[in-house]
Symmetry: D2
Subunit: 347 residues, 4 copies
């Protein structure tokens, strides 16, 4: 496994060298604990600026699952639940962490990983028109991800429609941005951070998969969600003693545009792969414009490929074909993608 | 605050340079996620060896609060609680994280931060002899820390007595080792890791305060506590995507004796400070042989000191005196301690 | 609303007169609290006998939701979930009580309210063959109801198949018997209590909808689920101070066959209604052999009916038709059913 | 045990005959479920009137533990806790139900079962002046009981002081009235329901120990605590399908002053017992003016008494003496108290 070329996920390497370099330089500076230090302040300011949201609260947490359940446990009362696509990370891959906090995840069928406003509207209309509502979990938040677990991205119009339905039914709109940069770098994307800060009540900017060693930056826009949030972080184990380690990484990622530069790198390589596969006539499980690609390949070919490449199995498609996932990342080497394309062509 | 010399805690600096160096060297190696990699395997093996416990399970988590509530939520059924000294970290400084997992912390009065077997025996005898036990939380685990929150350390005999009472009442014995090295390096200490692995059902070896950037190594000795523990880590947000970052730090700390070397450094400086204060006739809140010292100083002197040094207030003692805490760490500079002693003498 | 004839549910009246009579007779007898009294003992013995399960533990709780979440919180570890049909009461109508205890309800599409062994087998095979299982909630119990929320009933063969798949995947089989008597009284039913005590790990015998004022009798068959269950009852608010009130009701229901007698009464009247509707050519949402009937009726007819009868709306079927629910109960008067049939025929 | 005279608690009999009589009379009236019926409406109106609080929300729950944790889980956010005397029922005898909902019970030493404003003020001043508050559970509610677990009662002035400190620190004041009537009937009492509705944010009027079969009436005065409370009741298993059973009992208790009449009966008999014991020179563990009396008696005498009477052991006082509890209730027969007094005198 050591010499394998890994496309199985986007967190197989460490961090961008600038981050490590700065960690080394500032290693012996004594700082306050728990995210109350100058580096975190600087990183917060950079993110507020990037989001054109000077009043947003920015918190740094360690990982995505932690960020999701910590935010949702703050946003929801005990009898309230969160609407998610059935493919949503909180619905599938977080070991029921949201439920462990006491909240039901109300799943609706995802459309290529996305929710649309119509679904939520219909769900809420039925719920809120009921006569014995207190027997049923009340929807109070909508969870979406961008890019989604299937690599797809939302458009401005789609998010505006979701915002509208959330306003109508008094729901929070929360966006999981574990792969936010890869979504924003997708060809055709029309979102940006400032728009997200307008349209969402809260969202997080992923670091772990986007060039940091670890860490996610939660941006809370809605005022009523801000008070006492640090209690939730601490109680849920997300308050790093040396919080400046988180601040430092985001400070670096949001200085000089590094975050988007790294994101574009990954997407550009993914587009090369997509282009090559398309030219080979390979079908895709879903049409993804971002760093995750889901080609459907013959099992025989996969058996050959897996001797040299790590990738992940998404789902069986028929008796002889499987949809798999290839991820690029900020650290992916162009020559590795070229080699993969070459090997795919040879098959 | 930037030019202040910080003795307020033992997590004010980064990590030992060897750790950062190795992070840099291995930054681009592609690895499996979630702690299933070669570096974590190596670190686990080193810790098992240091503990003379080849069958122990070793898990790496991100922080102390997280480690405590994750372990306790795995060890306890919903109606069971954990006995702790009233000064125990889980009882005071973790925002009720154990309660947030549904479990009562059953506090007994600490004796200089420690529990003794007699207290627990008495508590359990009364509890288990009751006629309507199901109306009262059942004690099922004992939480201790070493060194304690007051810097004190347990002896072999004390731990053997605790083990005895735990066996008698069928309780788990769990040791919080956030400052384990500093405890083991204390003058007069007669514990070692192998003994802890014999006497405890589980304990953790702290990294955050002991030379790592972050991270704690949980050692589970008791077989019945081992199954499915990774589910608990993931559900509670403690499973780092790049788990090798945790492994790497402990691999380095447990190679060539670095962990104890750093611990001895901190304690040695703390002993210098203690010696000097004692010579000055300064009384202490508690007699601590480890890296935390709790002198009782005149408020007037503290007002002067705090212009130059950061320390933490422990408690008011009388109208004109306060017990404060000075911490040394693996990174404390001898010249800073010398300067502090000089300034104390001058007052 | 006062003079309306209620078919909207099966808990619209009080209790069978024998129960009230006995309550009055024994009102001033002083008894031990919390279910540790002679009446509860007698009722437990009767239920054990009816189930041919002398070693089963029998606990009396106050209501169905409480019984479900109390049992499941005892049966599941924090990372485990319970499989349910998407129409299951715990999945829909208990305000997320199971999630509030921390557990995900894993819904599979119900087949007329029932789960089949094949679905569960497929779900578990996929789950347990996964490589990163700890990221996903582990299925550990199967929740079924009989009669179901749609009035349908399981057969012996179906339950044996479920038992088989539960054994294979190490799942508990739990049956919600809120309407157990009505299921057992259904034409064609081949189950009985003794069979349920063989095939299930636990189940409850409903009282609230079956002739009692309130109360459910939980029968725990599997040994490993028995210890300390009273702690769960107390912690979850289900331990009635005057527990003998629960015992007394079940003691009466299980003396002289009253429980099944009442059940047959309700089902017999439901069958009259079904027969009449069938003769009228009215279609049904589901073919129910028990006390709940789900005819699909023209909205115009329903508008007339609702002036005189209470019934509940199940779902819209098309622009002009709605499936509604008529429930009979142990207390339903034959003349009321006759009148309803007459009115339906007149429409 | 059957022929024993029970003074061990105040829930050893059924209900006042008027309640049973009315249950019988109204048994076959068909009613809406879940507390949305005319009887509950009537009972709510009577309680609002008795409390001079026409805008208070009144909810009927089944038992005391359930009422306490349901209310507190609605009142507290996840990081908030409730202050209680260390003798408080929620702190001792509810199997950690409040913690099972995620909230720490912050215990302060009770003074004869009561909290005073000074304690709470001191606790809050220290807490809210802290610099790292988010590491510690935030106090948000104060739990008191009246009469207390030790039979003592609060005065108007004491409650006004508590109200003041709650206002100052933004805490809810919640009163557990499991034995509220017995407290209000105590000689020297200067409280009444209208005063409680002014001074508390919420409180409950106990039924179980006060003449009902079961049931507690929760009165929510503070507006911000009212919304969606029925969700909490349902989710926590407290929503009785035949909710009118609860309404009916309180409707009867609060018609014609029955509630206080029964309370005075119990207290009057307790005062006879107290008077007699005092005349015999028997000391008391606590000076209780209500239906619970805690004499300290020689073990030799208790050994004789327990052949004929049930009572409960409160605590060992010295090697030869034990404090025990004798409870009277609405149903206690004067001749039984007379007999007990006679037997005590004979010893």
């Amino acid at each position: 496994m050591m010499n394998m070329i890994r496309f199985n996920s986007d967190y197989v390497e460490g961090a961008h060298p600038r981050i490590l370099q700065r960690m080394m330089e500032e290693n012996t500076i004594q700082r306050s604990g728990y995210g109350r230090d100058e580096v975190c302040e600087s990183a917060r300011a950079r993110i507020q600026k990037a989001c054109a949201a000077p009043k947003a609260d920015v918190h740094f947490l360690v990982g995505g699952t932690q960020t999701n359940f910590t935010f949702l446990s703050a946003a929801l009362r005990p009898y309230q639940g969160v609407i998610s696509a059935d493919t949503g990370h909180i619905a599938v891959h977080e070991t029921g962490a949201v439920e462990a906090c006491g909240h039901k995840v109300l799943t609706l069928p995802g459309r290529a990983g996305k929710l649309d406003a119509g679904q939520i509207s219909e769900y809420c209309r039925e719920y809120f028109s009921g006569s014995e509502k207190e027997h049923i979990v009340m929807p109070k938040a909508v969870y979406i991800s961008n890019s989604t677990e299937l690599g797809t991205v939302y458009t401005r119009n789609e998010l505006l429609a979701l915002r509208g339905v959330c306003d109508h039914w008094n729901l929070y709109l929360y966006l999981d941005g574990a792969r936010l940069g890869y979504g924003l770098a997708a060809p055709g994307n029309d979102l940006d951070l400032a728009f997200l800060a307008e349209v969402c009540d809260a969202f997080y900017i992923g670091g772990t998969k986007q060039g940091a060693l670890f860490g996610e930056a939660l941006v809370i826009v809605r005022d009523e969600l801000k008070p006492d949030f640090r209690y939730f972080i601490k109680q849920n184990g997300g308050m790093l003693a040396k919080g400046w380690l988180l601040g430092l990484q985001f400070d670096e990622l949001f200085r000089d545009g590094l975050y988007m530069e790294l994101s574009r790198h990954a997407v550009s390589l993914a587009m090369e792969l997509r282009q090559a596969l398309t030219e080979m006539g390979v079908p895709f499980l879903v049409d993804s414009p971002s760093n995750q690609q889901f080609p459907i390949l013959p099992d025989a070919h996969l058996a050959v490929l897996k001797k040299k490449y790590a990738f992940s199995v998404q789902q069986r498609v028929d008796d002889t074909h499987t949809a798999v996932r290839f991820c690029t990342s900020w650290a992916t080497r162009p020559e590795d993608v070229a080699q993969l394309i070459g090997d795919l062509r040879a098959l």
